[in-house]
């Protein structure tokens, strides 16, 4: 049997090599997507050279439920290509790029149905601080080969490597998707009765439920919801306030304070994400985790040239 001439993940794509050249090995450099979450993690240092990641779908295998895409590609464009084959992904669609979605790591509004960004990245390619192309993970839907660089890159804000390309897990688009709204239901009771809502939102009074799946199942769940309140079909989710909070799901049971007056917030029941007008009070890593974070940054980017000014410690 002929042995392969180079490792499976060695990169031939000239587009990625050109991108690595552009990143180079010296001087502060940052990557921009569509700037929809540009200020997450702090403001970029003024002297940083700003570049864009390469774009385009590299390979899409619907029967494998995987898509290999250069991360400068807008999520909407990526999802449009998947939709042609009846699929979608966990990436949030809100005007940004695939790379932005991975680097920021925030989940889609319907994360209960679409999955989380952190588990949807199967393989990642990035340009290192030294200007080298690095691959981590692997192209298959299941893989435990070696240390898990894709997990480390999700939510890293480009501070460990500049993202270039990813293999993303795709999922079938359900036969039916419907949003329902009620003004008299208990969202926490619903969480315990509906098997798998794709989203369950609550603003202190009104509840929104997204049900997806076989038409016959959605009809059955809609009927079952009648026991919890009066539901009617809604056009979609409510408008979301600008600031994103990360709480424990149990904390939503006892939201207090002015920012949580009815109608001033939207909470994602079962996940703990809350959107409110005011920002969440700063969170802090414990001392040991902070030390680990500094060591990780020092290992991956010794001169601190990647996305200077940004840190995951305050994101």
């Amino acid at each position: 049997m002929d042995a392969p001439k180079q490792p499976l993940l060695a990169v031939d794509d000239p587009v990625l090599h050109a991108f690595a050249e552009e990143v180079g090995a010296e001087g502060p450099v940052a990557i921009e997507g569509n700037r929809t979450r540009w200020h997450v993690g702090g403001d970029l240092a003024a002297d940083a050279r700003v570049i864009k990641a390469p774009t385009g779908m590299v390979a899409y295998a619907p029967e494998e439920m995987t898509a290999q895409v250069r991360v400068g590609t807008p999520v909407a464009e990526f999802h449009a290509a998947l939709a042609e084959k009846g699929q979608r992904s966990a990436l949030p669609e809100r005007g940004g790029t695939v790379g932005g979605a991975i680097a920021v790591g925030q989940n889609a509004l319907s994360m209960l149905g679409r999955g989380r960004v952190r588990t949807s990245v199967l393989q990642i390619r990035y340009i290192s601080s030294e200007g080298r192309i690095i691959s981590g993970g692997g192209p298959t839907v299941k893989n435990v080969t070696g240390f898990d660089l894709p997990r480390l890159m999700v939510g890293s804000l480009g501070t460990l490597g500049l993202l270039a390309e990813a293999v993303i897990r795709t999922n079938p688009i359900p036969e039916v998707s419907v949003w329902l709204r009620s003004d008299d239901a208990d969202p926490f009771g619903i969480a315990a009765t509906v098997l798998k809502p794709s989203a369950l939102l609550w603003d202190g009074t009104a509840t929104w439920v997204e049900l997806e799946g076989h038409g016959i199942d959605v009809a059955a769940e809609t009927a079952a919801l009648a026991a919890s309140g009066t539901f009617r079909e809604a056009e979609g989710p409510p408008a979301l306030p600008a600031q994103r909070w990360s709480l424990k799901p149990s904390e939503l049971l006892k939201l207090t304070g002015a920012e949580f007056e009815t109608g001033e917030f939207v909470a994602s029941v079962g996940t703990g994400t809350v959107w409110a007008a005011k920002p969440q009070p700063p969170r802090q890593l414990n001392r040991a985790a902070q030390l680990l974070t500094h060591r990780m940054k020092a290992e991956f980017d010794p001169p601190g040239r990647l996305n200077p000014g940004r840190t995951v410690e305050t994101a």
Partner: protein, 507 residues
Amino acid sequence: MARSALKSLQSLKDLAGRASRSGGRPADETASDPLIGELRAALSPDRVRSDGAQKALMKKDASVFEGGVSGPLCYPESTAEVQAIMKLAEKYDRGVVPRGAGTGLAGGAIPLGAPIVIAATKMNHILEVDLDNRIAWVEPGVINLDLTKHLAPMGFHFAPDPSSQQVCTIGGNVANNSGGPHCLAYGVTNAHVVALEVVLPSGEVTVLGGLDAEPLGYDLRGAFVGSEGTLGFTTKVAVTITPNAPDVRTLLLSFDTVRDAANTVSAIIAAGIVPAALEVMDQRITQAVEAYVGAGYPTDAGAVLLAEVDGLADGIKIDAERIGDIGRQHGATNVRQAETDHERALLWKGRKTAFGAIAQIAPDYYLHDTVVPRSKLADVLEQIYEIADRHDVLVMNVFHAGDGNLHPLLVFDGREEGKLDAVHAAGAEIVTASVAAGGVLSGEHGIGVEKQAYMDLMFTDDDMDHQARLRRAFDPVCRANPGKVLPMGHSCADIAALRSVPADVWG
């Protein structure tokens, strides 16, 4: 490259042989060992063992790999005790190896260089079931199936369900990012760990991840899961608990050939159905299972496909019918649906005791673990049969077909002259063929010592350099499980040196 991998595996075995030959010294030398004295003072005398019998047990796991040399064996009961062990390891410059149930198949728990073995055995408590957050806090020594049994009255379960779930531990599942048949729909361990309390190799304690929606910082919990004990010792794990589906349907499809079964699997996924599980067994394993437990599998079929869908009653009825139709379109000779819970349980019992059934055929087996794209399943399986035949080794296939996770099972008698070498040679070709088809080295067993020499089939030197950076950020001196995962030249530990007993250590 396959040849060089095989060669280094051979030299690894030689080194291992040397190490074990020089390892056996009398147990009472340990009485004066100051490390043991300090460990006993920190824990209790009965929870630090150094007798030969205990240490001999710890030298191996469920893989075929030899050559482990265990240092003192500790059974801590608390995070503080693990911390004390870690600090003493630092003081005496010894490695530490976490150990769960020892069911690993890649040699990940084999102690190299006479490290301190930290057994999770006595940290086996389910600390809290938190229904509001849909998680459970457990200690690392909790048995996988015990957690699911504990959750059953509440209507929940722990989703990862490796075949070893009756004995394997949650700590081991975390270390290996374990899978199982039902991970097709529900995801592997990484998707089910939200937070970890960890004792770092420095002796510091930290919590990685968190119960909140999007924890602050790098995803260090994600980096830790699947790191095979090389980043520290986890003392508490917050795992998600999954509600039991209200309804389930289990089908058994029979085929004339493995190719038909594999093609059916690919077609089911391509049709947009995501079953809870899709497991294929070939005729040899089916016959072995039937002889062993009588699960009701057809022994005349070339292969069977065990398919399960769960969810709401009406929807899964549709899915089950579509799976049956797709099977028939791809040559299924029979489609049978389990009519009762008993019948369903029996079908699963057959699948999960497959490896036990092998003991009836030959004394030894070597279970491989690679992943290939689903569409390549049939081609790679054909190659696997050809490879095994050429090396005169009996191969059986029982695997997680739904996610392309192959488990070729090489069955042999290790007492036969040269047989183990033939098994390793066949294994090397199987791994190479899987990667050549666009697959990966391991789907759920890990790299351990088994596949270090194959890492360069997948990764470039730069890629492995970055994996080593991740490792170093947690453990700059390679104290935790030294000599695993990354191959020689990419690891911070001198792997060759670890395979002989250090001069100043009694082993």
